[in-house]
Amino acid sequence: MTEAHLKATGIKVRFGAFTALNGVDLAVRRGELVTLLGPSGCGKTTLLRVIAGFQRQTEGRIEVGGRNLGDVPPEGRNFGMVFQSYAVFPHMSVADNVAYGLAARGVRGGDRARRVQAALERVQLGALAGRFPDALSGGQKQRVGLARAMVIEPDLLLMDEPLSNLDALLRIEMRREIRLMQRELGITTLYVTHDQEEALAISDRIAVMRQGELLQIAPPEEVFEAPAHAFVADFIGGCNWFDATLAPGDAVTLAEGPSFVLPRREGRPAGPVRLALRNEDLRLCGGPGALPCLAGQVLMRAYMGHRTRLHLRLPSGATMDADVPSGTALPAEGATVHLEFHPDRARLFTCGAGPADGWRIA
């Protein structure tokens, strides 16, 4: 692992009695794209604004490239920032918007014009340099915002939900462009989003946040496949949750009935646990067999293309979802079916305070 380019240590932000960030540590390597992902109110935007310098932290230290940013105001940090609202200056042409930061750095004349044009070409707005923002679509405005932030060759690019105001198709197109450009320029980027799919698609690493705390920071595959925390598992991908008991000897028994034994490992605490299964980890089967198996009544079938989602009620009264391949003989609504899962696919978490709380133990 190379030395961190951005290093935030022990960041705390309190607004009166409310704690927005409760001691967050974050390190981003040079050239890396890290997303801050979480529901609204989790502190991801606050963390971004602390790093940008718009919000002063109550405690903690921020370094970029080895420079401590303690007292440096936002205008002295040389970070590019892209806003959810685009924040394109409505009274300036596209070119003047992009030239704004260069002018502040004393870049003038032909050099400035050349750099502005190059930045606009890169976001495919070369032909619209003379336009005013009110004649641009949302996507075009955000390209201006992107060009404006990139042209100053920032030490760090900060993006605050840049695609949230765009429609779904444009969002996918833009996030691909952002990712390609970011890689090509090797620009270290911190990207805030509440959209898990966007985070999975764009990131080198995802930092999942909740209630002012960073729960896990890892590559997308790891966050999805090996969530460190029940909240991460639930927020990214979604899960069915079961109460279970972990007995000494690593035998797991679900409150719904089935039981299985985990591969032996030292140090798992025996006692009540919570077990998570993703919809696609459940398979229709004929009845109890070698694999642990759940019985349930189909309340509803929802066709989703390649897969069909079965909404089921278990004997305990709890409900769960299972995604099964479409096309095969599917049970009718009202029928009772059996679903099996491989013990490898079950993830175990300690019982926390909330419904999706607790750290992973297996």
Partner: protein, 558 residues
């Protein structure tokens, strides 16, 4: 960073300090002095409520209080009757001539209220034209002086405010809510009663408050239509107690002023409480598209609204028209002449030049201070800026007469010896209009995406540079609109200037008022017409200025 460097980077605390200091010296101090004087017994010289007791024991003073409340209530009611149907028509329908009728409505705001009052006298006064004409065919109506006349005149000059507020309230009612109510089987009237009315209630309350306060503070109208001291209201009473040539009673004047301010403050607090209690968060996403009325219904709507507005503008038409009529004695003759203007210009002295000069200087100061203060209020949450926000709203409830008396009693000695100077009038203009421009500019700033400034900052520009290069250009259209309204108000200011002017600092409204009260009817009409013409001309200039320059972009103003 050192304190000095920090201020250089971000000087807003300094601006807040400046605004607070100005408001303390020019608002809080004069008002505190008035309050102090009101508490020193006129007879005994002892500290206490003696003057207040004297006020409420005197029948004459009590009458001033009831008169004030009566004309304000009656005038507000008439304004409602005029403004609400117009606001409904304008918010809901499109019809021919709508824009012109709207301009005509706003015309009523372009002249000081006393000009309208004077027109009523020209029509229905003792020797009024309409009254004489009716008398000649045997119909005798009483002259217009007194309660009803004053209420009518003030209503006609204040109803445009009500119209503007109620119309904007109506147009912000989410049309989906009304459609939902209608789809649930409610009839048209029931929808208005159960959905529309509760949602526009805040706007109605605001309109009523503004008009009521405006009438309460009006000095010129009751002074002209009340025939001096025969029909006292609080504003005229305070004035005559303070400036009476025989036996001025400054203590009682201060007491009357204090009662007027307390009354206004009570009303504001009551309205706020009412609004806070009844305010529902109004989802304004569904904007209404006005229904186009064609054919007979459209014509009827045009005709109806035009008639109403024509009626409301009658006073202005009469004043302007009669300024070109020959005068014999106190009666206009059916012959055209420019003689009134001849006489008017001969007697004008510096009044016109003074008015233009003072108003222009004040306007520049109002714009600078107003835009800074507005930004401060909208963007900074520190203690100083909250204090500035609070103080800046005080002049809003202080009638001009009160402020004038306060200035005259505080700034007549060192350290600030200002009485009799042009500065005191300019300062008074600035203080009286600052709340409105500051509020308007704050509401513009609220509408501008905070991200713009942050974008500017992240691109390497200091906050002050961002304010100049990003915020000011975006605030410009709104500021110009605010400036236009401020110009109208400042140029036509009477109720404080009448207290503060001296021979050398007489302004055009003062000259016009004096001629209207006891002078040549022709010259009075000529002065009034000059006021109207210059105000309208300046407004046209503002509109031209505003039309130029581009890129108002996302910023919706006015």
């Amino acid at each position: 960073m050192s304190a000095a460097a920090r201020l250089l980077r971000d000087p807003w605390p300094l601006v807040a300090l400046l605004v607070v200091a100005i408001m303390l010296v020019f608002v809080a101090w004069p008002l505190a002095e008035l309050a102090r004087q009101s508490l020193i017994g006129q007879e005994s010289g002892r500290f206490g409520l003696e003057n207040y007791v004297a006020f409420f024991e005197s029948r004459y003073f009590r009458r001033a209080l009831t008169n004030s409340l009566t004309i304000a209530a009656l005038g507000t009611a008439i304004s409602l009757l005029l403004a609400v149907p117009l606001a409904l028509a304008f918010a809901r329908y499109d019809f021919r001539g709508k824009r012109w009728i709207e301009v005509a409505i706003l015309m009523s705001m372009l002249s000081p209220p006393f000009v309208g009052a004077y027109a009523w006298i020209l029509m229905f006064g003792r020797s009024g034209m309409v009254r004489q004409a009716l008398a000649s065919i045997g119909i005798d109506i009483p002259p217009i002086y007194g309660t009803f006349g004053i209420a009518l005149a003030t209503a006609f000059s204040h109803y445009p405010v009500m119209f503007l507020v109620v119309r904007s309230g109506l147009s912000r009612v989410n049309v989906g809510l009304e459609e939902a109510a209608a789809s649930l089987g409610r009839g048209r009237l029931a929808v208005i009663r159960t959905v529309t009315l509760p949602l526009v209630l805040p706007a109605l309350v605001t309109g009523i408050l503004l008009v009521f306060l405006g009438i309460l503070a009006d000095f010129g109208t009751p002074s002209i239509l009340g025939e001096g001291e025969r029909f006292p209201v609080l504003a005229t009473l305070a004035f005559s107690l303070y400036l009476s040539e025989i036996g001025a009673e400054p203590g009682m004047a201060a007491t009357t002023a204090a009662i007027l301010v307390l009354l206004a403050m009570t009303l504001v607090i009551f309205a706020r409480w009412l609004a806070a209690r009844r305010t529902v968060s109004n989802d304004t996403s569904g904007t209404r598209v006005a229904t186009k009325l064609r054919g007979g219904r459209g014509a009827l709507m045009s005709l109806g609204t035009a008639t109403l507005v024509l009626l409301a503008n009658m006073p202005l038409i009469v004043v302007v028209g009669s300024s070109f009529l020959e005068v014999r004695g106190v009666v206009f003759q059916p012959a055209l002449t420019l003689a009134n203007y001849h006489n008017a210009f001969a007697a004008l002295g510096d009044a016109l030049w003074n008015s233009l000069r003072y108003a222009a200087i004040a306007l520049v100061m109002i714009l600078v201070l107003g835009s800074l203060a507005g930004y401060l209020i909208a963007r900074r949450s520190g203690l100083l800026s909250r204090l500035a926000d609070l103080l800046i709203m005080v002049p809003y409830v202080v009638p001009g007469t009160v402020l004038g008396i306060g200035y005259a009693s505080v700034f007549n000695q060192p350290p600030l010896m200002l009485t009799g100077t042009a500065s005191i009038i300019v300062v008074m203009y600035v203080i009286r209009r600052l709340p409105f421009v500051a509020r308007a500019s704050a509401s513009i700033v609220y509408q501008i995406d905070r991200g713009l400034e942050e974008a500017s900052q992240s691109l390497g520009v200091r906050p002050l540079g961002g304010f100049r290069r990003v915020m000011l250009p975006l605030m410009r259209p709104g500021l110009l609109a605010g400036a236009a309204i401020a110009w109208v108000e400042v140029f036509n200011e009477l109720s404080a200037s009448i207290v503060l002017y001296t021979g050398g600092t007489r302004t055009l409204p003062v000259a016009a008022y004096q001629q209207s009260l006891a002078g040549d009817v022709g010259m009075a009409a000529a002065y009034a017409t000059m006021l109207i013409a210059i105000t309208a001309g300046a407004l046209a200039l503002f509109i031209l200025l505003r039309g130029r320059g581009r890129g108002d972009g996302d910023v919706g103003v006015l």
